[in-house]
Symmetry: C2
Subunit: 441 residues, 2 copies
């Protein structure tokens, strides 16, 4: 096997992602408490069970979710869907999540298990149809109901819920599988009248688990009051621009779920689609979801680079998205990024075989492709293709500098319209193959 | 970087593909002569220019081709399309192919170069609109016309054309880029009345070239007389079941071309779609094209395994094809195959996110997935999923035996109809990442 010493050195220089991406403190939305523990499902004794609980009583807590479109939907996905359908997203007060077992491909018994988990939390909070349930981990195995059930009772009976930073960080840890760091972000925002509100987000992925797949879970909670149908519209829009715009390896799991709770603990008018603040909150939620989704790419298996694929000036959004996704999923492009090779040919090729909805989105003579430096060095833009013509006099030294950065951007200007889409991807490394080819050995 | 010693040992045990897949002799169709030489475009002095010439005068030689659907079509693709359109596929007597330079993304000047190459061969054989042209190699660079032009003249003026085995093998070598072996197959067939005819095929791919992509070229020539429109229908059908059913990394190049010549040197009735032998010849050509396409997968970069993905009993062919393709392109499935891991979860997951045309093609409770041994050992079939239920008592020893084979089959029985599709893929190895991430160093 030919592995150059340069690549081996590069792989050895692993970044300390934990210190870079895990916060040391945080502010959290009013009216939520969280708890987590090690139920014993994870054999290494790590936390594997967590609950988010609404404690605000001033208004019903509303919920929304976006689920995997994989045809083999895991039991927790189907049960959470039932809860949302049955409640119209109103009065949903809890999310219970476990890691170590995905409760996927477990048939009718798996459905009963997921219903029991949700039912047990409902019983503790005294309200039916009030709990969403999520699982991540090994597929094809049933939940160890004794451990999970005991764990839920312990959390409630021993009053282990808290709203401090460590409680939230521990919750983020409790849904990790092979993630190398817990993913937790939190920010304060203002409405137009100065009213403050908070968004907190937790995510996990795209770690492999045996025998398994990359499961993506995400929660966003806020103390704003948001009408249930508006919350769903807002989350769907945000996910379309965030979690649906990331690529580690292009695979989509049976358990992928992004959900959102809005408990209305902030004393302000309920936000619906006619509210003056609707567009602003929607874009704040979208930007926040992008940050949360990007953490998943940063923790991509074996990833040494975080790459933004920015397709702009497209005739329509769908085709901008298709092109960004095709570049992001190309094994040849991802390998070239790992090798720090300014390979415009592979990018152009991926654009060319993108399955566009509207052929007019791509005009071969109008396309521009550049690498963009993300570290404020200059020149910021290195043009690879100008109006369809490859640039043969590119500054190779500058190309090497940009490609050596851990963060970089591929900018594709379609020149056929005004729509744009960003996708976030990582490179394809030896380590990816090692992790995914070799985890049993 | 964590690379287990087991994987390193496996990678070191490279198969001698040349001795396995390159024939030592062959029979070739009547009425064709071929020639090739090193024009100097390839810096290592290897052959890089080849010509196939029809010498039969009893009937016009007909041609058909299937071209890349990539939007950035290379100049030789566009010129060959013009030749076929202008001639209706009738009276096409030559194919000229060069390697080392793809003449892609070269604009109007590249078009003129490709036209000059075809025109020069036309002049030698004394007939306009008579030559298809193909190129593979570096993209974004113009052909070195002085070398190519001199090479074509040398081949014709020095009468270097031959019809023996070595001439054909050298032609196969002349279109190689980073291929590790030349791809040449040849077989005799019979019509229903006992008339013999021959198919010879040459292909290349999916090797990487800098700065570049995997280009797939294939020629099939026969001495049967086949009506031009029938030949096109036959080739399109064959390619749909062969070259369009292989996956190395899912990327499709600017230059991909499969073409076919039928010179009618065999003295029999011209075959059209009403001929009694039509269906038989079509299926012979299809099976032959499958063999030729499979050689490309066997030479997949870094590949240690050849995997047939066989999707059967589907409600329709399109969805069988989509599922087979999705499994074949899944980086997680390909990594698991490299790691020899009986990972039914990743296969099921890929089936679940396949973008089906008709949702009824997949019934989660009817699907069966097995590994099939290809070495006549038994039990031949190892069932992983039975009617949607994962089999937890699988024989791990038998799984290890099957997964250690260099050839294996993944069988997916949809249970929703009677259509089927085979796809051929390879595993994703460290070596793939090394080749594609590191070729500049």
């Amino acid at each position: 096997m030919r592995v150059s010493s340069a690549l081996l050195q590069k792989a050895a220089k692993t970044v300390d992602k934990y210190s870079l991406y895990v916060p040391k403190s945080g502010v959290f939305p009013k009216g939520f408490k969280v708890a987590s523990l090690a139920s014993g499902v994870k054999k290494n004794g790590n936390r594997d069970l967590g609950i988010i609980l609404n404690t605000n009583k001033s208004r019903p807590s509303n919920a929304a979710a976006v689920f995997t479109t994989n045809r083999f939907k895991a039991a927790p996905v189907l049960v959470s869907k039932q809860v949302l359908d049955g409640s119209s997203g109103e009065g949903v007060n809890a999310i219970v999540a476990n890691s170590g077992c995905a409760n996927a491909v477990t048939g009718e018994l798996g459905m009963q298990d997921a219903q029991k988990v949700a039912g047990q939390v409902n019983a503790h909070i005294g309200k039916e149809n009030s709990t969403l349930v999520m699982s991540t981990g090994v597929i094809g195995q049933r939940l160890q109901m004794d451990k999970i059930s005991k764990g839920i009772n312990t959390l409630f009976d021993q009053k282990q819920f808290g709203s401090d930073f460590n409680s939230w960080l521990n919750l983020a840890k409790s849904i990790c599988t092979t993630d190398t760091f817990p993913k937790l972000i939190s920010s304060k925002f203002q409405l137009s009248d100065g009213t403050e509100y908070t968004l907190t987000g937790i995510s996990k992925g795209a770690g492999m688990i045996c025998p398994n797949m990359a499961t993506l879970l995400g929660f966003i909670v806020t103390d704003l009051p948001i009408k249930a149908s508006t919350l769903q519209a807002m989350l769907t829009a945000a996910v379309n621009r965030s979690f649906n715009c990331i690529s580690v390896d292009g695979d989509m799991s049976t358990n992928d779920t992004i959900c959102m709770l809005a408990n209305g603990a902030v004393d302000t008018f309920v936000i619906d689609e006619a509210s003056p603040d609707f567009e602003q909150v929607k874009s704040q939620v979208t930007e926040f979801a992008k940050q949360l989704a990007q953490l998943v790419v940063r923790d991509g298996e074996g990833a040494t680079k975080f790459v933004t694929v920015n397709v702009k000036n497209s005739a329509n959004f769908k085709d901008a998205r298709i092109i960004a996704e095709t570049i992001s999923n190309s094994m040849l492009v991802k390998s070239a990024l790992y090798g720090q090779d300014a390979n415009w040919g592979r990018i152009l090729c991926a654009i060319g075989y993108s399955k566009l909805e509207n052929l007019a989105s791509l005009d071969e003579s109008k396309i521009n492709v550049s690498f963009i430096a993300t570290d404020n060095s200059s020149p910021r833009e290195l043009k690879l293709i100008a109006n369809g013509v490859p640039q043969f006099d590119i500054d190779e030294n500058r190309a090497s500098e940009i490609l050596a950065l851990p963060d970089l951007e591929i900018l594709v200007d379609m020149g056929t319209g005004s729509e744009e889409c960003q996708f976030w991807t990582c490179d394809l490394s030896h380590e990816y193959v090692t992790i995914n080819g070799d985890y049993r050995s």
